[in-house]
Every structure is written in C-alpha cells, then in structure tokens.
Symmetry: C2
Subunit: 446 residues, 2 copies
Amino acid sequence: MPKINPISGFPELLPNQQIAFQKAMGLVKSVYESFGFIPMETPVVERVEHMLAKGISAKEVYGLRRLAAEGEDGDKDLALRFDLTVPLARYVSQHYGKLTFPYRRYHMEPVWRGERAQKGRYRQFYQCDIDVIGDGSLSLNHDAEIPAIIFQIFRKMEIGDFTIRINNRKVLQGLFANVGLSSDADIKAAINVVDDLEKVPAEVTKERLMKLNISDAHAEELMSIFGIAESNEAVFAMLKGKAGENELLDEGVAELEYVLNTAKSFIEKEEQTVFANSFKIDLGIARGLDYYTGTVYETKLNAHPNIGSICSGGRYDDLAGTFSNKKLPGVGISIGLSRLVVVLIEAGLIPAEESTTADVLVTVQNPDKYTDYLNIAAELRSTGLNVEVFAEQKKLQAQLKYANKKGFPKVIIANDDELEKGLVKLKDMVSGEEKLLPVGDLSTLF
Amino acid sequence: MPKINPISGFPELLPNQQIAFQKAMGLVKSVYESFGFIPMETPVVERVEHMLAKGISAKEVYGLRRLAAEGEDGDKDLALRFDLTVPLARYVSQHYGKLTFPYRRYHMEPVWRGERAQKGRYRQFYQCDIDVIGDGSLSLNHDAEIPAIIFQIFRKMEIGDFTIRINNRKVLQGLFANVGLSSDADIKAAINVVDDLEKVPAEVTKERLMKLNISDAHAEELMSIFGIAESNEAVFAMLKGKAGENELLDEGVAELEYVLNTAKSFIEKEEQTVFANSFKIDLGIARGLDYYTGTVYETKLNAHPNIGSICSGGRYDDLAGTFSNKKLPGVGISIGLSRLVVVLIEAGLIPAEESTTADVLVTVQNPDKYTDYLNIAAELRSTGLNVEVFAEQKKLQAQLKYANKKGFPKVIIANDDELEKGLVKLKDMVSGEEKLLPVGDLSTLF
C-alpha cells in the first residue's frame, strides 16, 4: 500500500480516541449550557489585519492563498484564527446591536498555530471557551460563577482531585506599586516574572525582580508572598495586614474575597465541601496574557501537576479594543481539549476502549430472514437505543468477534427456532450472561 | 464604531440561528448514531497533491501559507479540505490496519470552496456525511439501510413531506448500452445528460443524447423512461420487460428491487406506511459525481422542490484509489447542513426564535440575598435543568425584559418575603401563568 505521510502537528484520532474526545466535548458543552451559556461559532478565517492588530505574531499565523487565483487577490487578506478571542471581539463588535448583554457564549472550535513542526506541538487544536461580555460594566458575580463551572466540568469528568487556583491582577499590581514600581512597562515585566515562577529557579526570579529596581528585602518579601501555601483564611489575614497601603491592592483583595465567598453558592449543597477543598487562593499565579485586569484562574490535577493548567482564564476590562469604541469588559476561561484528552487517555484517566457509540449489535444467523432482524433493531431503536445490524454474510462467530473488537456492550442473537417463537437472546458482552426476551416487548430490555 | 467588513461566503450565525443550527446538527448526529455510525474527525487540511489527484480543481482550493515563514516551506503543500471524501479515503487507507470493517462513520465538519465571492455561494459550509466502507466487498444491505436513515432524519426534523428518490447507475448504464453506447466516455457523457434533466429543456436533452449517436427513436424512448412518474411497481414492470437484454441492466434492476423491498424493514412498524409513501424509484436521477457505480439517492421537500436535493449520495466501488491498493467499496450520503438550515429558517420550516438554550432564568430582587438565589439555581441545575442567574444589579422589570428578549421559557421570581418563607414564584413566560413552589423541592417543577 502506498505510504501516506501524516501531517505533523495536525493530530487525528482513531475511533476509540475520537469517541473519548467527543464524550469530553459533550460533557464540557453540557456544563456550559447548564449555566445558561449559548453556542457561538465563527468562520475559521479572520482578516489578517485584525489578527495582527491584536498583537498576534505573523510567524504563527496560517494565511490562505487560492491555489489558482488568476489575477484575483486570492483572499490573501484571510488567515486561520489563532485563538477564539479575536473572533469573539470581532463578533461582539460586529453584531453589537443584535446581541443581548451580558452576552454569555461558549465557543468550542479549533484554532491554528503556525508552529514549526515538532513532536507534541499542535498546529490545530480545540479550544473550549466561555466568556461573559458586559455592555459598559460587568458584575463581579460572573467572576464568582466561573470557578463553579470549572469545578462541575472536572468533577463530572472523574479525572481525580484538582485544584482551582485564583488570584487577582490588582493584588499583584498593588504589591508591585508598594515596592516602588510605577510604570506600566515595569509592572508588566513584574507580572511576567510571576508568570514564570514555576519555570525558573528562585534565584533567577529574585534576580529578575531586582533588575526592576526592587530592593533585596522587598524581593524576598514578594517571593514569600507568591509562594505562600497556607489556607485561604491565612492568606486573607496576611493581605488584610496591608489594608490602606495601596488602593489597587485593597480593591483586588476585596474582589478576591467576594469571589471566594460567593463561588460556593453556585454549587449544590452536597458538593460544597468538595468544592471548598478544590478552591485555593494562589498569589503566585498571574497568567501570561497582557489583557487580564482582575481575577485570574488556573486549574491543575493534584496527582499530575506536570500536565500543567487544564483550564485558565480571567477578567479583562476591554475586549473589543480596535474593533469598537464601546467599553466591553469580560471574564472567561479556556480549556485546550485536544491536548488534554490525549494526555488524559495516556495517563489512564479517561477510558478509550470502545470503538462504537452503539448500545447493541443485532447479529444475523439466517440471512434469509434478514428483515426479521431488522424489525428487532427498529423496535430497539424506537426505544431510544443506538442499534447496529450486522449486514455482511458472516458466521455468528465472526459477528461476535466484530462486536468484541468494537466494544459493543450487548448483542442480540436469534436462530430460526427462536425467531419462530418470537424470542431473541440478549448477551451481555462483559459478563457473558444471556437471557431470552420476547420480540415486541424488548423495551424492557435494558 | 469602526465598520467591520464581513467576509463574504463565510456565513456567521446570530445566537437564535446558531441554536437552530445546533439543534439540527444534534438531530442528524443522533439519528446517525442510532444506526451505529461512529464519529470521525480529521484535521481541516489535506495535502494539496492528494486533493488534486482526486480531480479537485486547483481554482477551488484554499491553500495555506505561513505569513512569515522565513525560508521554511511554510506548509505550502497543505490546503483546506474541499470535501469529506478525500479525508475519508486518506483516513481509511492510512489507518487501515487499525479500523474494523465494515467501517461505519459519520463526519460532520466544514469544508471549503475557493469560490468567487458571490451572494448565496458559501465558501465554508458544513457537510454531514455517513459512509460505510467494506474491506474487499460490501453487502447491498447497507444500500438498503441508507433510505431509512434519510427518512428518520427529515421525519424528526418536521419540515413537511419529502421524497427520497432512488436509482441505480447500472440501470442507466445498461439502458445506454442497449441503445449502442459502449465507450466509458460516452456513458459518462450520457450520465451527465441525465444529471442535467431538470436544468435544461427537453429539446436540449434530446439534442445532447443524439449527439452521442443515439437515434431519434431511442432518445425519445430514453426520455420517457427518465421521466416516468408511475408507481414503483409500474416502473419495475417496465424494467422487467427488458430482462435479458443486458446483463448490467438486469443486475441494476435486481439491486434496485432488493433495496426497495428491504429498506422499509429498517423502520419501525408504525412508520412504514409513511416511509413507503416517501420512497420512490426515479430513473431520471444520476447524481453528478463520476465515482458512483450503483445505487444513487436524492431527497427533496415536496412543497419546496426549488431548494433542490437536501440529501444525496450513492454507492461506489473504489473509495481509496491512489491512496491504497486495497479494494474498498462504499456507500454514503451527504447533507449540506449550513445552507439547508438557513433556507429552512427563511422558509419558516424550522423555528429560530430563542436566543438561549437555558430552561429557566432566576431573577434577583434582593442583591443582598444573592446566594439564596444561587442556591435555588444550583438545586434546579442538579435536576438536569439549564439555569442562568441574573447577575447584574437591575430592576426586576429589566430582568424580565432580558428573559423575554432571549426567549427563556420560564423565570423564577422571589422577593424577601417569599425567600423567608422558603418559596419562589415560577412564571411561564409564554402563558404568563405563575405558581408558588417550595425551595428544596423544586425538582417537581417542570
């Protein structure tokens, strides 16, 4: 067979993996919808100028070109979207008059990065985002809702304990102002230092802070604050010791406290204790993106910190920027589901064993009575089951092998004798258990 | 506000349309899965050479180019997929050893066409395909299953009466051989004449047939066969009058008859009569694509023939072609859902009124008791409902306006007094009816 050279960075899943991926997508979507978020999709392309205006590097952008454009411009001004943020900003600005605010949308589609081909670097991957966009202003209640949504998703995914970490950019900015930083550029640089905390040794962090003209003692103090691993209460006690030192700091602490205290009420009572144990202030998280201005979120699996953050996001003051002269503040999160599902499958945290989404395979022992088997399948299907009928002429053994290989949980078997009596055998493919059931009353089957 | 110039041919939906589209996608997917088809997704890009080798015109293909590739090849060998057939052929060939055959997959993703920008011409649109691929051979039972699947989809979509038309390429080829056509090129040209029947006047059809050296009398006879609008039984009687004239014709007629007789058994008994009335032999359909070799399908809405075929497909002998030296016959159909949903909304055949997928909005009359309202929402959500809590500080009237604008079917209203008594008001936004319900026992609500 001719060899087909896979395109690196554009992952493609086999049936069992695709089914696991689709289940994860369905779960994320159902939680997003359970909180009232509505679906949004956009074309895969945006205008190049819009993407570059948002600071995306041209190196990482896939432009389009018509292969034989014959003197037309060939749509060279179009490029595959790099993220779901530019499309959101453009969509909300473009359709502003037709949307109801706060606009609460989820967007679960692929994005493209013009990375150098390299193992583990995806050039196409799904992002699963929610954002709430306010018209002029946006209540902090939305910031408090986000951790509850993150919790529901990963709790339902059953992938082990996880911790949702939360911080507030105003707290960081206030702390930096307190030690003498004043310019936007310096504060931005300091935020980047925080963002890199886990990636570099402590001495490098200290060096970088001192390069910003922060004193040795202040650098030490900041580093102990970033590294504080105490209870939420203890962190607040420490922060409140600084009340009145800096307005932005006070504002950030108040926001952080409101979000922390309100979030749990979004969760049903029986789950609130688990939630409280999964939700921590971490003054050492900053999130890299420039545009966050308040609450920031990060989520890690307790037993697999090396996977990195599985869900991150935050609050921003200004979504639209160049697209609109409206003030459109927002808060949102993103889950990079393509990589996450592959990693979770590899770690054995989500199963990828079945290559079918059907509930039952109807096997065919006598092809001359094929329509009898079809009627059985139609009856089962009308009760809401997913049913496949084996269509090729093969021996029963080969049909059962097919069922096993694809992972059908149940099969129906019936020979002439049984068909005449109006009976079928239902075989459980896991336990091997068989029982006889009457045709015409199969709805009681499962 | 700066003007944003929409990208023509890349349609983008507003929330109400997106929700209607998503419902249609969900319906198609659930029917595909109910027949045991499994999900497949592929990267949006294929290699240019693979697409051109399959006969796709370079003019209509969107290639990629890295905007700043710095001496790299910039992935210029990649292009956005034109259809879901090249990806299927490539996927099945590439992963042959890891798939279970017959491989039954659905694939519901966008495709891209480098059309000239023009109203009504989509350059990005969803195709919703199923195909069954056999390893070496594939039973005709799969051909018989397809009409049942088409029927279930459009029956559940409730868009009025429709007719699934079926023909067989072997019948057409046999008829053409009977009147003297022998070369592949001539038969291909004749098939194209059939494909254009509805688009051109009868005299043009006749002229085109006679150009292929078909006699006047034979052309007349063929045209009356293509145009036959009698019962399936009458069509078979006519075809059987030709038994023994041509082997391919006999084979085609036998296949057509088997498919027609078997298909209804895939449908539950209560629906078989409606199905029989929706399923017709039409010797005048051919489907344009070269690669069909047997059964072909076409589906039209009875009251809206101008919409054209809403679901088409057929049987082919050789899926893989250049990708593989295996013989991989298949049968499949495709629904172009992007255009279809827009047309159905415009025709009033599917509703697009709601801009929310939530079941209920919890309004907030006393923001100081916000967590009480959150607890009510959490209780409702735990029963499986999609619930949004109004988060901004606005008067009740403004909150009800929001509910109305987005189309929430129900809202919860509670003032201080009611909250203290552990009660909430449930208001039906359509009927206006209100009832009091006890918090803690809301699951009996809906």
